[in-house]
Amino acid sequence: MKFEPAKFLPGGDHFMLVQFGDDASIDLNFMALGLTAALKAAALPGVVDTNPSYNSLVVEYESDDISYADLQTQLERLIGGLGSVEELELDSRLAYLPVMYLDPWTRECVADYSEKITRRGDDPDFVARENGLEDAKQLARVHSGTEHWVVAVCSTPGLPLMRALDPRCALTSPKYNPPRTWTTLGAIGVGGLSTSIYTTPGPGGYNLIGRTPVPLWDPRQRHPIFKHRVVLLDAADRVKFVPIGEEEFGYIEARVADGSYEFNITAYQRFSVGAYKKWVASLNADGRF
C-alpha cells in the first residue's frame, strides 16, 4: 500500500526513515530515488547522506545543523515537488554485463553448501521449478530477456539490488535458510523479487544461477574505469545480462586482470517512469520468453 502522505520515522539521533509505502511496488522505489535526486540537487545544510531501498529512504542528518522537525518539513516540501510517480524522470545508464549462466563455479558453491550445511539440489533447477519454467535453460533466457533496474547499491560495496523491469521476466524464489557461509565472487543470485551480484566472497541467501567475470567495484582502483568512481553502478542504473560461454568467460577474465577490458555502459539517459508504466500496461504480463 502506498502511504499518502509518506511516513517519517526516527532512527536514533541522526537518521530518519522515510517510508513511501509498505509493499514492493516498484513505484515506491521510483519515489525513493526521486527524493534521493531531489535531496542531492537541494544540497540542504545538515543532510549528510541517503540510503534508498525498495519502498523507503534512510536520510542521515547532523542535528547541530538541522532539527528533526525541520528536516521532515524540507522532505515534505521536496516530495511535494516530485509530483506524481508518472511525472518522475531519473538519470539512468544501461550497463551490459556478461554472465555465464549455469556455470561450474557457483554450482560448486551450492554443492559445498549441500554437503556441509543443508542438502539441496541445483539452484537454477529450483528457481525454474518455483517459477513454472521448463528448465534451467529457459531460466537463463527469461533472466537475460530484460533490463534489470538497480533499486539500490547496498549491503556490501558496489552490490546492486535489482529487479526485472519487464514483468514477463520477473522471478520470485525463497532465499536460503540457513544462509550460505561463503559465495562465489561475481555470482548472480536471485531471491525474493531481486537479482543481485555478489561483490565480496561473504555469506548470502540468494539462489545462484550464474557468474559474471566483470568486477563491480575495486578498492585498489586498478582498472581505469575505477579511477574516478569506486563502484560501477548507481541506484537507478539498469543492467542487461549478456549470456556467454566458458571460453568467453576466461577471455574476459584475462582482459579484466590485465586492465584492457572495455566496460560497456551507456551515457546517462532520462528514464521516464510514465513511459515505462505505459509500456508495461501494454504487455501480456503472463507471457514468458
Binding site: 520515522l9 526516527p10 536514533g12 539521533d13 537518521f15 541517503t50 531501498s53
Partner: protein
C-alpha cells in the same frame, strides 16, 4: 619530519580509524567505519595536537607493539591496556614524547575493551575521503586491513607537545562492574513489537554475546513478541515476524533477526530485510566500544531530542578546554 612506525606485534585487529569516518557513501554500499568510542578517540588526538578527527589507531582487546623510527608525540586513551614504553609504564590520558628507536607496547585490556593510540600525523592514504579501515571492504587504513607484523604506518609532520593531560571529569567513565546503561530511541520499527515486548526489552538485562565485532553486537536476553503488523503482512516481507522488505539500516539500529537482536555498528551491512524496533543513538556508542562479551546492558529509553542533547554534551568535551598541563 616524516617517518614511520613499525609493527612488531599487531594486537587483535588493530586498525587505523578517523572520525567521523567514511560519510556519504551509503549509496555505494559502504558503512561509515570509524572509532566505536569516538569520545576517547578524539581526546587522544587533541592531546597530541592533531585535529580531533585525525587518523589514529583503534586497539581492540589486545593492543599492538610498535617501534618508532623517528621521535614522536603519542597518547593512549580509553581502556587500560597497561601501555609500556621500553618497559616503563605509560600513563593513560596524557601526551608523551617517544624517541626514535623506542618501542611502545600495549597488552590486554584491563578495563574497557578499546584503547586509542594517537600519534601526531598518521598519514595512510584516504579512500573515499576517509582513512578509516573497513576490514570487510578491504579498504582504508593500512592496505585495507588490520595491522600486520612488519607493517609500516606512515607518519607525517606533527606539532604535538608532551606533558598534556585530559582533565579527569572530561574523560568517559569506563564501567568497572561490567554493567552499562545504554540509551535507546524508539523506532523506526517499534510498532512491530507489542507493548509487552517493548516493556520486556526496556526492563530486562541483555548480555553482550561473544559473537560480536565491529559489524554488530549480538545480545542475549528474553523473547520478543510482536504486533499484527509483524505477523499479518504481505508475503513479499518474508515469513518470519522480524522480516520486512529490504530497507536501509541506521547505524546503531537494534536489528532483530528472528529472536536475536544485533546492534548494528560502524562496519555494518548498510541494508537488509530485518526490522529495527529501537536505535542506539551516538551518545551511547562510547559505552558500546568499551564493553566486552559477557557485560550487561540496561537500556534507557530517551527521546530523539534528549539523545541529540547528550551527543552535544559529549562533543563539547572533545576540545582543548578538556586539556590541562600534566
Amino acid at each position: 619530519m616524516t617517518g614511520s612506525v613499525e609493527v612488531l606485534k599487531p594486537g587483535l585487529e588493530t586498525c587505523v580509524q578517523d572520525y567521523p569516518g567514511r560519510k556519504g557513501a551509503f549509496g555505494m554500499g559502504f558503512p561509515p567505519s570509524g572509532p566505536l568510542d569516538a569520545w576517547s578517540f578524539r581526546l587522544a588526538n587533541i592531546l597530541v595536537g592533531n585535529a580531533a578527527g585525525a587518523a589514529a589507531l583503534e586497539c581492540q582487546f589486545i593492543g599492538p607493539a610498535l617501534k618508532f623510527t623517528a621521535s614522536a608525540v603519542v597518547s593512549v586513551c580509553g581502556g587500560d591496556m597497561a601501555a609500556k614504553l621500553d618497559g616503563a609504564p605509560v600513563a593513560l590520558w596524557q601526551s608523551i614524547a617517544v624517541n626514535a628507536g623506542q618501542a611502545l607496547e600495549l597488552g590486554s585490556a584491563l578495563t574497557g575493551a578499546r584503547t586509542y593510540l594517537a600519534i601526531a600525523g598518521v598519514d595512510t592514504p584516504p579512500f573515499l575521503g576517509s582513512r578509516s579501515t573497513f576490514v570487510l571492504g578491504e579498504c582504508g587504513g593500512l592496505d585495507g586491513a588490520a595491522l600486520k607484523v612488519g607493517g609500516e604506518i606512515p607518519v607525517g609532520v606533527g606539532n604535538g607537545a608532551p606533558g598534556r593531560k585530559v582533565i579527569e571529569k572530561c574523560r568517559p567513565a569506563i564501567s568497572q562492574n561490567h554493567r552499562w546503561q545504554i540509551e535507546v530511541c524508539a523506532g523506526p520499527n517499534d510498532d512491530w513489537i507489542d507493548a509487552a515486548g517493548q516493556k520486556r526489552f526496556l526492563e530486562s538485562e541483555w548480555k553482550l554475546s561473544p559473537k560480536s565485532n565491529r559489524v554488530g553486537f549480538r545480545l542475549e536476553g528474553p523473547e520478543w513478541t510482536f504486533t499484527d503488523k509483524a505477523t499479518n503482512k504481505a508475503p513479499e516481507n518474508g515469513s518470519d515476524p522480524s522480516n520486512t522488505i529490504d530497507h536501509g539500516y541506521p547505524i546503531g539500529a537494534i536489528n532483530l533477526c528472528g529472536q536475536t537482536p544485533i546492534i548494528l555498528l560502524h562496519d555494518t551491512l548498510t541494508l537488509g530485510g530485518f526490522i529495527n524496533p529501537f536505535t542506539v543513538p551516538s551518545c551511547a556508542f562510547w559505552k558500546l566500544g568499551q564493553s566486552r562479551p559477557g557485560d550487561i546492558y540496561d537500556f534507557e529509553l530517551v527521546s530523539v531530542a534528549e539523545a541529540q542533547a547528550r551527543k552535544r554534551a559529549i562533543n563539547a568535551l572533545c576540545g582543548e578546554d578538556s586539556i590541562e598541563a600534566a
